[in-house]
Amino acid sequence: MSQSLGRPEVADPVTKKVYEDAEARFQMVLNIFKITGNAPEIAEKMWQIYFDILQDGQVSWVDKELLILKATKMGDCLYCVTQHEVVSGRLGVSNEKQADIVGVEYRQSEHYTPAEVAILDLCAHVVRNPERIPQDVWSRVKEHYDDGQIVEIVATIGAYLQVSKFGDALGVELEPVWHGHQPVLFNAEPPRSAAAQHHLDHFPDSRTELLRRTRCPPPQCSTRLPLTSTRPTARRRSSLGMCPIS
């Protein structure tokens, strides 16, 4: 299946509404929204969850961006990480703070508050194994957040595990507008997934360095909290078609 770029002008009203909402919120229709037209009744409901997340709620948007970066970095989703590095930067999260989100660097980082450390620890455990979250982590989270906020925190982590796997599985490619972006998190720590590395083609200035770091032996990468295994991959790749256009 070949990928075909869609245009914002679409035939069905549900997809058209998604495009309008996306453009209003993000000043562009991201590629992930352009697959909506394949099944608009499903996709539209799904996107509403993300429209709800990406704003201040019971939890600040900045806190949610930190969780999004942590969860999607652990899932090796270069599409999500790249976009949310930019969003986080616009919300005032410095590159230095972003870089310290990898592994457990944030625990010792001067850029993070105890509340932020607590929810990032929770995030790492949710991604790895929600059945084995230490009581200490819950205690620290509950020192700083109430029940409604904890729902929003966990929902944000879960939703970004979902959308990162959704987009990666369907072959959604990074939009050209991001191609000049200098990766922050993946410069601090390269992706573990061999299959994720084709995305690095979008960052030619960083590719050599990232690939060199990717081959570092395990002890040098020991701060990483592993999520996925790496295995040799037959080269990809089909993708779900972009929205069928009128």
């Binding site: 394949n38 509403q48 409604g148 979902q162 037959a234």
Partner: protein, 155 residues
């Protein structure tokens, strides 16, 4: 009312959007609800999630899936099971790959998938798989007990 809705009730905005989407996913769509229940069970099993497994197992039965079809979802048994079609097997391969590394859904998975399912169905499949990956993570984290869904027969 499912327990997860009660838990989400502390955060109304998220309660509405998440519940709306789950309601959309659980029903007849571009895929039959009966098959989507197998997709949900396979996703929960593959990702080691506990939340709602029992409820969806009962739903899968009520919607006409045989006990053999449910039992044969287990680990690699589905690969040789006579109770599944080629199209269904292609979906189970997709689920296992998404759980392991969604970056690595290669043509060996895509080609059989697209022989049996159209683009709209593939989008619905990916949405259901990743939604229940999310739901398993989210409600296992929050310690929500298995819901009693659909107290009246749905089949």
């Amino acid at each position: 009312m499912p327990n997860f809705v009660k838990v989400l009730g502390t955060n109304p905005a998220f309660c509405v959007s998440i519940t709306d989407f789950v309601i959309q996913a659980l029903g007849e769509g571009r895929l039959s609800w009966a098959f989507k229940e197998l997709v949900i069970l396979k996703t929960l099993r593959t990702t080691g999630a506990y939340y709602s497994y029992g409820a969806h197992e009962r739903l899968a039965l009520e919607l006409g899936n045989s006990p053999d079809r449910i039992g044969d979802l287990n680990n690699s048994v589905w690969q040789d099971s006579p109770h599944f079609s080629e199209g269904e097997r292609a979906v189970f391969a997709l689920i296992e790959q998404i759980a392991e590394d969604a970056n690595d859904v290669d043509d060996q998975i895509w080609e059989p998938l697209l022989q049996h399912w159209d683009h709209g169905q593939v989008l619905e499949l990916a949405a259901v798989i990743t939604t229940f990956l999310n739901i398993g993570r989210m409600f296992d984290t929050l310690g929500v007990s298995d819901p009693v869904l659909f107290t009246k027969p749905v089949g």
